[in-house]
């Protein structure tokens, strides 16, 4: 793994588990083809300057901190949990499964007497994030027994634990197990993190920054489309007023001076409402096209 290569290489940790599939899809959109063969922990990537390793998200930050990998993708929750000193390069929150914001929730059994974290003095709390939970309790001045849970944490109250701190993207596992949420302990999104020494290395830093730029650009283009249309100058105002404020369009001249072209980016979900309204307002030659990347 540490063999000297002729060309410099960036060692990149990809998260094994729930983040894996979306991560590989994200790399595809950003311009890197990653192939994982069954049982191999070294995925193939079509970039001679990158070497990939699959690692559990929980351990990523620690390995990146120690320099086993130059950079990697994991949730900020695991970075905080392991208290790893790493450099954050990009927030990769995206509207895809497992890449949305997740919340670590403090929850108790529905119908229990616990109303707030203060009621958990001296009680037992099961969680996968012992460090985060311990610090959260300390902030609230509560002393409780925090117990590591290997999983299936949501079924533990009330028999095996008084309360739990468990992760949820949609809240469905909380509802399914008849639990009541007392507080949000930590919010988290996937991040691209880097080893500090690797970041100080000129070549590696440039490579990682380019990677971060393209990953962010692919995320920015997710669920958005381009819209191009022509409109007569005296109808321009009504067309612009239909576009969402955040669209910040570009207006260009056309050969026919009475007309201008409007180019903009909108959310895909707005297309259905907007395109007919734009036509009614005087827009003609409306073209909707897919986007691959948006570099701000």
């Amino acid at each position: 793994m540490r063999a000297k290569a002729a060309t410099p290489r960036l060692r990149l940790g990809l998260p094994k588990g729930s983040l894996q599939e979306t991560t590989i899809r994200l790399f595809g959109l950003a311009g890197w083809r990653v192939r994982v063969s069954e049982r191999s922990y070294y995925p193939q990537i079509d970039d001679a300057e990158i070497e990939c390793i699959l690692i559990r998200a929980q351990e990523m930050a620690r390995y990146v901190e120690h320099g086993a990998m130059d950079c990697g993708i994991t949730g900020i929750d695991w970075v905080l949990e392991s208290r790893a000193k790493v450099k954050e390069l990009a927030d990769l929150a995206a509207p895809w499964p497992n890449y949305r914001t997740v919340r670590w929730l403090l929850a108790v059994k529905e119908g229990s007497a616990f109303r707030s974290v203060k009621d958990l003095q001296g009680k037992r709390i099961a969680t996968e994030v012992v460090g985060l939970t311990g610090r959260y309790l300390k902030r609230h001045g509560v002393k409780a027994e925090v117990e590591f849970s290997y999983g299936a944490t949501e079924v533990k109250p009330p028999l095996l634990a008084d309360a739990i701190v468990d992760v949820s993207e949609t809240g469905s596992s909380i509802r399914a197990n008849n639990l009541r949420v007392l507080d949000v302990v930590q919010e988290s999104t996937p991040r691209l993190i880097a080893n500090r020494d690797a970041f100080a290395d000129e070549w590696k830093r440039r490579k990682m920054e380019r990677l971060a730029l393209l990953l962010r650009a692919a995320i920015a283009a997710a669920n958005r489309v381009g819209l191009m249309l022509n409109v007569r100058r005296d109808h321009l105002e009504s067309v612009l007023s239909i576009l969402p404020a955040l669209a910040t369009p570009t207006i260009s001249a056309l050969a026919d001076e009475r007309w201008v072209a409007v180019n903009t980016v909108i959310e895909e979900s707005q297309v259905r409402e907007m395109v007919p309204a734009l036509r009614e307002a005087g827009a003609r030659g409306i073209v909707e096209y897919p986007l691959n990347k948006i570099v701000e």
Binding site: E237, A245, T250, I251, S252, V260
Partner: protein, 182 residues
């Protein structure tokens, strides 16, 4: 926005503008008003314009300095607030001395975006990049000269114009046009 609420809002805005443009400069303000505005161009040469939230119409983004704040610093701050962009403030295109309605001097600078992400604000609910040959009809007419000067590469020009009844009516016509198109 319903039509009645729209009219009420317009009446409120016009009352405020009449006070702001006609009475307050004569009654309350001692020093002549100085403002800073930027002609921001992207790499394709397009000009960034914003829509004001009170008197609606397209204009150059910018604003009024805080007490004792240098014009260029004020411009950087206002552009950051109104457009989300960080800019390099370049040379002064010119000073535009306007008398009549809301007398003021507008210092217009050439600006180059260096970072940030374009996003509208409460004061400037809409932003758009316009090719110089596709400036909107709803651009307030007194901005045409500064933009022309900037595009022609002029620096340090000094112009004065009187904002009389014609300018006020042109402004109102543009505002009404923007409101009625909704």
């Amino acid at each position: 926005m319903g039509p009645v609420r729209g009219v009420l809002r317009a009446v409120r805005v016009y009352t405020k503008l009449a006070w702001w443009g006609l009475a307050s400069p004569r009654l309350l303000e001692r020093a002549p008003l100085e403002i800073a505005q930027g002609v921001i161009r992207d790499e394709c040469g397009r000009v960034l314009l914003s829509v004001r939230s009170d008197l609606m119409g397209w204009e150059l983004p910018g604003g009024t300095p805080h007490p004792r704040e240098p014009l260029e610093a004020a411009l950087r701050r206002e552009l950051r607030e109104e457009t989300g962009l960080d800019v390099d403030v370049g040379d002064l295109v010119g000073a535009y001395v306007r008398t009549g309605f809301r007398p003021h001097t507008a210092h217009v600078y050439r600006c180059r975006p260096t970072g940030g992400v374009l996003r509208p604000s409460r004061e400037t609910p809409r932003l758009a990049w316009f090719e110089p040959s596709a400036l909107p009809q709803t651009l307030f007419p007194w901005y045409r000269t500064p933009i022309e000067d900037a595009l022609a590469g002029r620096s340090g020009v000094c112009r004065s114009e009187h904002q009389g009844v014609a300018a006020v009516l042109a402004g109102l016509r543009i505002d009404l046009r923007m409101r009625l198109r909704r």
